[in-house]
Each structure stands twice: as structure tokens, then as C-alpha cells.
């Protein structure tokens, strides 16, 4: 258990996270308007989104499917009946004066997320619920000295609110939770997980207590928009609360904002939090009824999720836990790896993908989806190594050129004459020539200066233009030198 040391002893931090994940969908939760990011303000707004008189919401079944898939992905219980409620409050970017959400009967109850912690540790965190709701629009306060502009493009976009149990015990665990949740969402294609664009946002409930003591008073930190900021905010907030209690103060239950520029949390104005939301079932919508057969169809069509995939990679491909973890972090990477590994040496495939490919991609600032070298092309290169056409050493140069030019491995090997010499006669001739040319060095070696072997290897390699099969070369060289 990770504890924070205070003046009066150790403290335990208790954290629960509420994540708002924007559902990947072409249109909004209750209207046909588009959802793309970055459009001109107020160009993706239907009269429903702008809450014009007489407009009615109609549920987008695709968004419901996305929530069901996510529910299954976090091992929650998908409820056959759930209800949409109105959450009433006034704000300029909330056109109807209420947000359609799910309050008493969410679409998914329960669930769990397994955290991958450093040194191979793991913890499972309970998920309380997942519900569907509408996003609000955006108020733009910086466009005019005394007016606020409103952009309703985002208004009505589908969100999944995913609420964890207060089972996280450190900023590190909170970070691991967010990473894992994001990974699952991206695997399922139900949320793109892009925190910069706001498609994944997080509220953190933080309290502190002495180990074993009852729960302390919590503060909610609103709208944190990166995993790193979430971790910094939690750390700051926990220390603030500990300090306050240790100095004889009491923690006030309140909503706070994280100021990422200064690295501190500060209270929101009390006006911003004094809401009585007057929830009641939305009379414009019938209860959301899911056909069990439909849920089963979605369950059967679920992709393999990261935890399962990682296990399989370790089992079937004999990968290390670390390599398997790296490869499954993105579904695309895992798929890429499997394509390279198919019918080949899987560990070699893993090494090439996590080593050479990631190295060059990182340097180029590219993701795997932008890789100039396809999985099949890497596979073909691996085949050339396996059948001794090129050495591993040469292959790295070939790969660099593949990455640079997009040409395939065989073409580069042919064009540059990099084919490895495995003909032992040719290598033997080169060995003989080197031995004949360097009588003094041979004498030294034979007198016991073993480390000269490397020198001879280099000479023979040089003589063969680097193409000699290293195994054959070593064998012949040793035999001749000692003979």
C-alpha cells in the first residue's frame, strides 16, 4: 500500500474517478447532427440540439450499442431496462436547460478494471456504473471583452460516464486506471480516448485518512484533461488535505479545479456548485429496453481485449510479460505484431516490432498506423534472415532503408548486393587469404592472444563485403587458425 508521510504519521489517499468518455459515433445521442471535432462553430447543430420549441429527442441506437460494448468490456452487467432522466440547470451552453442523462437506472451496473502497475504488480478496481448522457456545448469567454459566445457543435454529443468505486489508493493507481480504461475504450472503438480534444475527461474524488480509519471528507476535482494532470492534481490535493488536517483544520466538501499552469487545485465559486438538479425521468423518451439476444450478439462480436491478448501472447508466442504488455497497449500494434509473427519466429518478430520499428517510428514522431513499412514487409525481411539470405546485422541496415524509401527488403538486398555469402568455399578462400596476408598476427594468436579472433573476423567480413554468414565464418576461422 502506498502511503503519504505526514507530520503526524502516514496517510492513506482514497480516490474515485468519474470519467466522461465521448462515444465514437457519426451522429449525436438524440439527433442526427454530425459529431466531428474541429468544425466551424455552430455548424453541427440540429434544432433538437439547440432545443428549439417542439423538438424531441430520439435515441441513437448506435450509441447505445457502443455503451453496451463498453459495459461488456469492463465486465459490467448490461441492464435490459434503463431510464433517461433530465438533469435540470441553467447555463448558456445547455440549450434545453436540462441535460438528458441516466440517474437512477443506468445502462450498465458494476464492472471492474485490472490495473497494470510497475514491477508486474496488478490490482483490480471496481466500476460502480456506466451511463449514457448528452454533452453540453461550449461557452467561449475570450472572443469579446464583455460578451460570451456559445458554440453548440458539441451539444448533444453522446458521453459515457464511467464511475469507479473509491478503491484507488495513489495517483499512480489513478494513472494506471485511466490508462487501462482508455486502452479498453480504444480497443472497442467506443471512444478515441483523445484527452487533448476533450473526448476523455476525468473528475477525481479525493479524500485522505489514517490507515484503517473511516473515510475522510472528499473534494471533487473537475474536468482534468490529461492523465499526467490527473496524477498531479491528486497528489497536490492529497497533500493539501493532509496539511490542512495536520494543522488542525477540517476539509470542506467542495468542488475544485486543477490549475495546470500552477500545479494547484483551487475551489470553484460556490455559485458554480450550488445546484439542485431536480432529476426526473424524461417524459419525451421511453425506458431504454435492450433485447437480450442483441446483447448476446454484441458480446459474441467483442474483440479480444488487452488483458486476454497479453496472456495469449505470453502463452502462445512465449513472449516476456514486458514485451507482451508493450505490444498489446494498442490494438493496432498487437495486430501488426501478430501479422509479422504469423508462421515466423514470434520472439524475433516481437523484438523487431518493439525494437527497430518503434525506434524509427518514435524518431519520426509517427504512430504505427503511419508506419511506412507494413507488417508483411517486415515479415519478408525476417524471412530473409531466417533463410540466411541476409545476416541480422545487415537486416538492420536494410530495414532502415525500407523505412526511408518504402521499398521492400528483397529489392534492397538485390540492388545493393547484400545477399549473405553462405557458400563455405568462398568464405574459406577469404579466410585463407587473410591468414596468408597476416602471418605475424596469426603467430600472435597462436601464441595465446585469443582476443585477436575478433580482429580476424572483422578482416574476413571486410574481405567479403560484410556478407559472409557469421556462423560459417567463425567456424572456419577457428579451425584454420588453430590448425
Amino acid at each position: 500500500m502506498s502511503l503519504i508521510e505526514g507530520k503526524t504519521g502516514n496517510w492513506e489517499v482514497v480516490i474515485g474517478l468519474e470519467v466522461h468518455a465521448q462515444v465514437v459515433s457519426q451522429s449525436k445521442l438524440f439527433s442526427g447532427a454530425a459529431t466531428g471535432f474541429g468544425a466551424e462553430p455552430n455548424t453541427q447543430v440540429s434544432p433538437v440540439d439547440a432545443a428549439f420549441p417542439g423538438m424531441l429527442p430520439v435515441i441513437n441506437r448506435f450509441c447505445v450499442e457502443q455503451a453496451v460494448k463498453t459495459g461488456i468490456g469492463i465486465e459490467g452487467k448490461v441492464n435490459p431496462i434503463s431510464v433517461f432522466d433530465r438533469k435540470n440547470y441553467f447555463y448558456a451552453d445547455l440549450p434545453a436547460g436540462y441535460q438528458i442523462s441516466q440517474f437512477t437506472r443506468p445502462i450498465v451496473s458494476g464492472g471492474s478494471i485490472a490495473l497494470d502497475l510497475p514491477e508486474g504488480r496488478s490490482r483490480t478496481i471496481g466500476v460502480t456504473r456506466l451511463h449514457l448522457e448528452q454533452d453540453a456545448g461550449k461557452s467561449l469567454h475570450d472572443q469579446h471583452p464583455n460578451l460570451t459566445y456559445v458554440d453548440l457543435n458539441r451539444a448533444g454529443t453522446a458521453l459515457m460516464e464511467i464511475v469507479s468505486e473509491p478503491e484507488l489508493r495513489s495517483a499512480e493507481e489513478a494513472g494506471a486506471y485511466l490508462r487501462k480504461l482508455r486502452m479498453i475504450l480504444r480497443y472497442l472503438g467506443t471512444c478515441d480516448g483523445n484527452m487533448e480534444e476533450g473526448s476523455l475527461r476525468c473528475d477525481a474524488n479525493v479524500s485522505v485518512r489514517k490507515p484503517g480509519a473511516p473515510l475522510g471528507t472528499r473534494c471533487e476535482i473537475k474536468n482534468v484533461n490529461s492523465i499526467r494532470f490527473a496524477m498531479l492534481a491528486i497528489d497536490y490535493e492529497a497533500r493539501r488535505q493532509i496539511e490542512m488536517i495536520e494543522e488542525g483544520g477540517i476539509v470542506k466538501q467542495e468542488t475544485r479545479l486543477f490549475d495546470s499552469a500552477r500545479g494547484v487545485t483551487r475551489p470553484m465559486r460556490s455559485k458554480e456548485q450550488a445546484h439542485d438538479y431536480r432529476y426526473f425521468p424524461d417524459p419525451d423518451l421511453l425506458p431504454l429496453v435492450l433485447d437480450p439476444a442483441e446483447i448476446e450478439r454484441l458480446r459474441a462480436a467483442m474483440p479480444e481485449l488487452p488483458d486476454r491478448k497479453k496472456e495469449r501472447f505470453i502463452q502462445d508466442y512465449k513472449l516476456t510479460s514486458y514485451d507482451a504488455g508493450v505490444l498489446v497497449s494498442e490494438r493496432l500494434t498487437a495486430d501488426f505484431f501478430e501479422r509479422v509473427a504469423k508462421g515466423r519466429d514470434a520472439r524475433a518478430a516481437a523484438n523487431w516490432v518493439t525494437g527497430e520499428l518503434f525506434g524509427l517510428l518514435n524518431r519520426a514522431g509517427k504512430g504505427i498506423e503511419q508506419s511506412p513499412v507494413s507488417a508483411d514487409a517486415i515479415g519478408a525481411l525476417l524471412d530473409l534472415i531466417a533463410d540466411n539470405t541476409v545476416s541480422g546485422r545487415t537486416a538492420k541496415d536494410v530495414f532502415a532503408e525500407m523505412f526511408e524509401t518504402g521499398k521492400d527488403a528483397a529489392a534492397i538486398v538485390e540492388a545493393k548486393g547484400l545477399r549473405q555469402v553462405t557458400d563455405s568455399g568462398a568464405i574459406e578462400a577469404a579466410v585463407d587469404r587473410v591468414i596468408a596476408e597476416q602471418p605475424e598476427k596469426v603467430a600472435e594468436f597462436r601464441a595465446g592472444k585469443d582476443k585477436l579472433l575478433g580482429y580476424f573476423v572483422g578482416q574476413v567480413m571486410k574481405a567479403t563485403g560484410g556478407k559472409a554468414n557469421p556462423g560459417t565464418l567463425n567456424e572456419l576461422l577457428k579451425k584454420k587458425l588453430s590448425g
Binding site: P47, A50, A51, F52, P53, G54, M55, L56, P57, V58, I59, R86, N88, F90, Y91, A92, P95, A96, G97, Y98, T148, V150, D276, R278, Y279, F280, P283, D284, L285, L286
Partner: protein, 490 residues
């Protein structure tokens, strides 16, 4: 007044098809009547050019032998229906200048059947009222008068302009909406047939919402047959309204067989309320005799929870209204009164934009949904509502329809009952239970009060069984032979 204005839709349909008159002549006569009767204040927006253009197109269809169900029929549309490009006010200051960029489903269906629009009819603000006195655009005067008394009377509400227009022979029929009695009560007050279909029968899309779980479109007509014609044109599933029913729409006119032999009709004793005038009780008894004489069988039934309907309604309807009306904030459309902050702007806009009755209901609704009160009011009201619906369901195991009075009184004068909102709410005592249960109900003019004012009887049916309701209503209509006309027209 032109005789063309006295025709029913069914009669006009025949006249148009046999070329006795053209749609343009028919509409022009109604446009003239509308101009002549401006003193009623039945319309908020008149659209005579539009009506005449609609009629011209109708004549082309008729000439081509391609006439549809409502071809060439000029209608008044309650100004709660959004009409594309035509101001839609809900009779509220807060919708100043609002022209919807869309057409409500129900009006679109009427236009698709060839009907024309005379204008947008006056109503109680946001359909909240039973007198049409709460309209920002002023009270509507009923064309009726008490015998020997020239004081102007209310047409009832909230569809007061719609009722006045049809009663005064300005429009052949009108669209209304009924949340707790807003079609049936004005129909009773003005001697018309007023039909509230089953909740879900007509789409709510494009109707300015008052109480979403209760609002339903319906019609005011001069005959039951016209009501059947209108209902068929208005009804049907709408994918844009999740609460609209996915049921086929019957040919309601075909249901008017004139035969109610063997029909069992319920008479609930709980509708004999304290203080109800004897003449209404007597009319009810007469109605029972009429149906019996036509071969139907009266059955005494209990609707024990009737007395809880009004308080239940006045929790649920304001609760939904308080949320539905939150969108009128001055930000995107309608009236805006500037303020130094967004809160000030909201407060000023809503203070100026809403009338007293609307504010009263927003306050009540906000209160009953508030933390600490929700369970005691809103949740309890929802439970009672479910019990009231169950009460009706049990009754309908024994009977096919239920017969009651429509309202506990005849029309009252403008200015009467105005100082006590609760007395006003009592007008809905016979209509509200049906709304809470989502059932179809129709008011049929059945007689005159001692003062010479129309009184209606209400026929209530099973959910989505408008056919039986209309058949029984037609039988009542035939027996009542209501021929009285507003004095101004005779």
C-alpha cells in the same frame, strides 16, 4: 355570412368534388368571415394569402380528379404547432419573433391531405389555462352569449381561439392540443365536437411542449364525422417522436356505423361532484337514456381515485412544464432582455417574457421536483397516476366506453373566476383523469343550459380504441340533435 361557412367538412368535400363550388370560393368565404369576426380575437396570426394559395393548389388537384382527404378545407391551427416560416408564439411574449424553420408533423400531415391554413389560433399562454385569458395576445371572446346578457364569455381553454374560430364558422375545423382538457372543455363551452385521441396516437413533434407525458394533438369540429376525418389525417407513427405509437391508423369514418346495439357504457358515480349544477346532472341522465334507447347498456362503475386526479395532474403537469420551459432563456430565439450577467439576462427575460399563470406553474413544478420534496410530491403523484390508469383499465374490463359530463359548468364570463386559480383548475375535473390515463376522450354538444349556453358530454374509450369512442359519440350526436348556433350567427 356565406352558407359555405356553415358546411361541415364532409359536406364541403362532396360540394368540392361535384364542383358545386371551388376551393377558392370556399376559402375566400372563410377568409371573409375571419376578417369580419376579428372582434373575437380568435387568431394571433392570420394567413389569408397562404389560405388562398393553398386553395388554388387544391382546385388543381380536384380538377385532376386527384383530391385528397382534406383537399381545399380551410383550417385554423392552434398557435402551439410550429409552422415553417409562420410566426409561432404559444401566445407568449417570450417567443417574440420566433419563426420555426420546421413544420410540425401533425400540420404537415394535414397539408399533405390538401388542407389549407387560415391562421394561427389564439390560446392560453403555453396552453396553460381553461379560459384563454392567459394569452399575451389578449382574451378570446366566445361567439356565444347568455340569453339576455351581452357580457362576453370565455370560449374555454386552452384551445380557445380554435374553438371560437370553428364555433363562429370562421374555420371548418381547428387543430387543438389537449393536456388536461384543453380541447374537450372549450368544445363543451362552444357547442363543438372536441376530440383528444389516445396519448401516442398523434405525433408531438413540432408542438411547443407544455407537459410532455400528457400533451396530445386533437381537433375541434362541428360534427363527429368531421372529427373522424380529421383524426385519420392527423394520426400515425412518427419516428421523430419516441412516444408515438407504432399502430396502423384505422379508417375512422368507416367506424361510424350508427349501430351501438349491445355496447356497454360505464357511468362512474364519482363524477357526481359537489356543487355541479343540476342541469348538468340532468343532461348526463338524458345522455344515458339516449344511449340506452340506441341499444347500448349502461353499467354502474367505480373510478374511486377520481378525486385525486386534479391534485395529481397539478403536480405532474407543472413539473414537466418547469423543465420544458427552461429553454426559453433569451439565448437562442425569442425575447431577450439584456442584463449585466447571464443570470441577470435569464431573470429579466423570463420575468418579462412569461405571464403570471406560466410563472405560477413553473414555480409549482420547480418546487415539486426539488430535493427533499420530490418523493412527497412528484413520485407520489406518479404512483397515483398509475393507480388512476389501473382504475380505468379495470373499468374497461366491464364496459366499452364511459359516459360523463365534459365540464362542471357552462362557459363563464370574461372576468369571472379570474382571481382564484384553484377555482379555474376545477374546470378540468372531468377531463384530467382521462389525460392522466392517456385515454381517448371526446366532447359532444348535448344541450343548452338554462342560460342558453352549450353543454357537452364526454365519451371515454380504451387506449387506441377511438373507433368505438367515435361510434358512441355519433350516436349521442344524433340523439341530441344539437342545432343551436351562437346568437351572432342567427
Amino acid at each position: 355570412m356565406s352558407e359555405l361557412c356553415d358546411l361541415t367538412i364532409a359536406q364541403a368535400r362532396d360540394g368540392l368534388r361535384t364542383r358545386r363550388f371551388s376551393a377558392r370560393e370556399l376559402t375566400a368565404a372563410h377568409v371573409k368571415a375571419m376578417e369580419a369576426a376579428r372582434g373575437l380575437n380568435a387568431f394571433i396570426t392570420e394567413t389569408p394569402e397562404r389560405a388562398l394559395a393553398d386553395a388554388a393548389r387544391a382546385d388543381v388537384r380536384i380538377a385532376a380528379g386527384d383530391a385528397r382527404a382534406l383537399e381545399g378545407i380551410p383550417l385554423a391551427i392552434k398557435d402551439l404547432f410550429c409552422t415553417e416560416g409562420v410566426p409561432t408564439t404559444a401566445a407568449s411574449h417570450i417567443l417574440d419573433g420566433f419563426k420555426p424553420p420546421y413544420e410540425s408533423t401533425v400540420t404537415a400531415k394535414l397539408w399533405a391531405q390538401g388542407a389549407g391554413m387560415l391562421g394561427k389560433a389564439n390560446l392560453d399562454e403555453f396552453a396553460m389555462g381553461s379560459s384563454n385569458m392567459t394569452s399575451y395576445y389578449g382574451a378570446v371572446r366566445s361567439p356565444w352569449r347568455r340569453r339576455g346578457d351581452d357580457r362576453p364569455l370565455v370560449p374555454g381553454g386552452s384551445s380557445g381561439g380554435s374553438a371560437a374560430a370553428v364555433a363562429a364558422r370562421i374555420a371548418m375545423a381547428a387543430l387543438g392540443t389537449d393536456t388536461g382538457g384543453s380541447i374537450r372543455q372549450p368544445a363543451s363551452f362552444t357547442g363543438l365536437v372536441g376530440m383528444k385521441p389516445t396519448y401516442g396516437r398523434c405525433s408531438r413533434w413540432g408542438i411547443v411542449a407544455f407537459a410532455s407525458s400528457l400533451d396530445q394533438a386533437g381537433s375541434l369540429t362541428r360534427t363527429v364525422r368531421d372529427s373522424a376525418i380529421m383524426l385519420r389525417a392527423m394520426s400515425g407513427h412518427d419516428p421523430k417522436d419516441s412516444t408515438s405509437a407504432t399502430l396502423p391508423v384505422p379508417d375512422y369514418e368507416a367506424a361510424l356505423t350508427g349501430n351501438i346495439r349491445g355496447l356497454r357504457f360505464g357511468v362512474p358515480k364519482e363524477y357526481r361532484v359537489e356543487g355541479m349544477p343540476a342541469e348538468i346532472e340532468k343532461l348526463w341522465q338524458t345522455g344515458i337514456e339516449w344511449l340506452r334507447a340506441a341499444g347500448a347498456e349502461p353499467v354502474d362503475i367505480n373510478l374511486k381515485l377520481t378525486k385525486y386526479a386534479l391534485p395529481t395532474y397539478y403536480i405532474i403537469a407543472p413539473a414537466e412544464a418547469s423543465s420544458n420551459l427552461a429553454r426559453y432563456d433569451g439565448v437562442r430565439f425569442g425575447l431577450r432582455v439584456e442584463g449585466k450577467s447571464i443570470e441577470e439576462m435569464y431573470e429579466a427575460t423570463r420575468a418579462v417574457g412569461f405571464g403570471d399563470e406560466v410563472k405560477r406553474r413553473i414555480l409549482v413544478g420547480t418546487y415539486v421536483l426539488s430535493a427533499g420534496y420530490y418523493d412527497a410530491y412528484y413520485l407520489k403523484a406518479q404512483r397515483v397516476r398509475a393507480l388512476i390508469a389501473a382504475d380505468f383499465k379495470r373499468a374497461f374490463e366491464k364496459v366499452d366506453v364511459i359516459l360523463t359530463p365534459t365540464a362542471p359548468s357552462a362557459a363563464f364570463a370574461i372576468g369571472e373566476k379570474m382571481d382564484d386559480p384553484l377555482a379555474m383548475y376545477l374546470n378540468d375535473v372531468f377531463t384530467v383523469p382521462i389525460s392522466l390515463a392517456g385515454l381517448p376522450g371526446i366532447s359532444v354538444p348535448a344541450g343548452l343550459s338554462a342560460e342558453g349556453l352549450p353543454l357537452g358530454l364526454q365519451v371515454i374509450g380504451r387506449a387506441f380504441d377511438e373507433e368505438t369512442v367515435l361510434r358512441a359519440a355519433e350516436s349521442l350526436e344524433r340523439a341530441a340533435n344539437f342545432t343551436a348556433r351562437p346568437p351572432a350567427l342567427t
